[in-house]
Symmetry: C2
Subunit: 321 residues, 2 copies
């Protein structure tokens, strides 16, 4: 490994440890990132006893010889099947209080003090469904860095997209949509795989297919599974479609618009007139959602996903001081 | 093989040749079934030049030494990727005229005269989507055996469920729902596979979970992908769920209710007050759909799938005489 040179003394370590990977950042006393590292080993490929060694393998060269470094961890490492369970906090949940639910696993190496942050859970009521999140709550907490009593509707697009209603820095309700996973299954494992390729929303044809599908499914969400088969039938019958890769691209955009449009049909009804949506996530996916929302005349504000998770971990670190 | 003894002289042969199998019936001059046979080789495992030999392998022992026997074939054997393409007939389509679109492949064996029946296609308009069917049109034609000018809304449940509006024996419009495939993908390939087992609608708990899910998604189809994740969240959080296999069974019934309920949300709006739905299919699946429709106070009438396809092939046979 060798020792890496950090520009300032290490104050703490930020870690986002998900199902399939681990990302760590070396932080100084002003909460600036000095270095980062990652590993492709997440909850799905680790047993509880392997976490400490995996973490040390990534951060060892950052650690000073003396003293104990706090490590703030969000994500699936705190799941029951992870390192150690940090039990869900039930909604409504104040996002500046996540650290109160943190658990500290017993470690062999005295140089580390690890805090596993909890996820959130929601019970079923007349208006809410059972739901859980683990990792996204820390990104939501990151919104409080700029606005400590943040209010608004927030969307975190992804394999399992999360939508959260925040009021004065508290999560009052949230909902998970299987959108990304649904798209992947349909595009690669269903009968649609014969029709669907790779889209590119920079191209006008894809863009139009995407926004038309968003509008159509938003208006008639009850026809979702019919419109899915319609992608295949369109491939067989629509003479206006281009040929070759462009054809698969247009049909991929069509399918993506159906999946995302259905999600928006389920969420955007709760927006008050003129209210915007805050999107937290990577550039490409946030752009796709912003285009879909724009099609429905809904404004968006974008926050980078890494920025949000670092801000949320920083908030938790400040709370345990 | 050996020669099988048929009770009466062979008049013609009925064949339902789908994507994954072939079923054949030896028919007498009164259109009664004298014998049946099948093979696990359908369009997906055959090239165009293999169909004749495959058919002969199944029906050879039925054939008289002299004369030429008509063989009426419906299903994917008539697809472009099948034996020979029988081009789609565009809706509106009179179901007693399907044989007009039949094609006759050139055969090596003079004992057979094969008619491949066409499927139906629908162009996109303001109210209809692009759609295709191949095989189901012959089951629909079977409804004309009892009522030559049949009118009504017909559902053929399956991997790709079909709904057809018939008016005076003519298909005026139809729609395909990806319901069965969607269920299979979600139950076996998505994150829900950790929660979903095998349901049994004879059990009260499964029955209740199924009908509740049908009602819920029928009322709020826009929350479909949220309710999908809700199956997983319910498994994690609902203390009232049973344990063991019963748990997986209840959650499977829940998922099935969501998939079928979404389909009904898309179709049942076109029913006139008091109108019933005719279900064509196998016993188990028809029973499941009947329960879902009954939950929504919609009456059903059931027709066995094999009975329907034989009646439809018989109608086509009579037309070519």
């Amino acid at each position: 490994m060798g020792t890496s040179e950090l520009t300032n003394p290490l104050a703490w370590i930020a870690v986002d440890w998900g199902s399939s990977n681990l990302r760590a950042w070396a932080m100084d006393a002003q909460n600036h990132v000095m270095a980062s590292a990652s590993s492709p080993r997440g909850m799905l490929s680790l047993t509880a006893t392997e976490y400490e060694a995996e973490l040390l393998g990534i951060v060892d060269t950052w650690l000073p010889e003396n003293g104990q470094t706090p490590v703030m961890v969000c994500g699936m490492a705190g799941a029951r099947q992870g390192w150690q369970e940090a039990a869900y906090l039930a909604t409504p949940t104040r996002l500046d209080q996540l650290s109160r639910g943190a658990v500290m696993p017993t470690l062999a190496d005295a140089r580390l003090r690890v805090y596993l942050l909890p996820g959130l859970s929601q019970s079923e009521t007349n208006t809410h469904l059972y739901d859980v999140m683990r990792g996204e709550e820390t990104q939501l907490a990151g919104l409080l860095a700029d606005t400590s009593r943040f209010s608004g509707l927030v969307c975190l697009p992804g394999t399992h997209s999360k939508w959260a209603r925040l009021t004065d820095g508290t999560v009052t309700e949230f909902a998970t949509y299987l959108t990304g996973e649904l798209y992947q299954l349909l595009a690669h494992q269903s009968v649609l795989k014969h029709s669907v390729g790779q889209d590119d929303l920079q191209h006008e044809g894809c863009r139009r297919a995407f926004t038309q599908a968003v509008t159509a499914i938003y208006q008639t969400p009850e026809r979702f599974s019919q419109r899915l088969f319609g992608v295949r039938a369109r491939d067989l019958l629509d003479n206006a479609l281009p040929s070759g890769d462009a054809r698969g691209a247009v049909l991929a955009a069509h399918l993506s618009g159906l999946a995302i449009g259905l999600e928006l049909a389920g969420t955007c009804g709760q927006l008050t007139p003129g209210e915007s949506v805050t999107l937290i996530g990577n550039e490409a996916l946030s752009h796709r959602y912003a285009l879909a929302l724009e099609t429905l005349d809904i404004d968006t504000r974008r926050v980078d996903g890494d920025t949000a998770v670092l801000a949320g971990l920083t908030l938790a670190y400040q709370r345990i001081q």
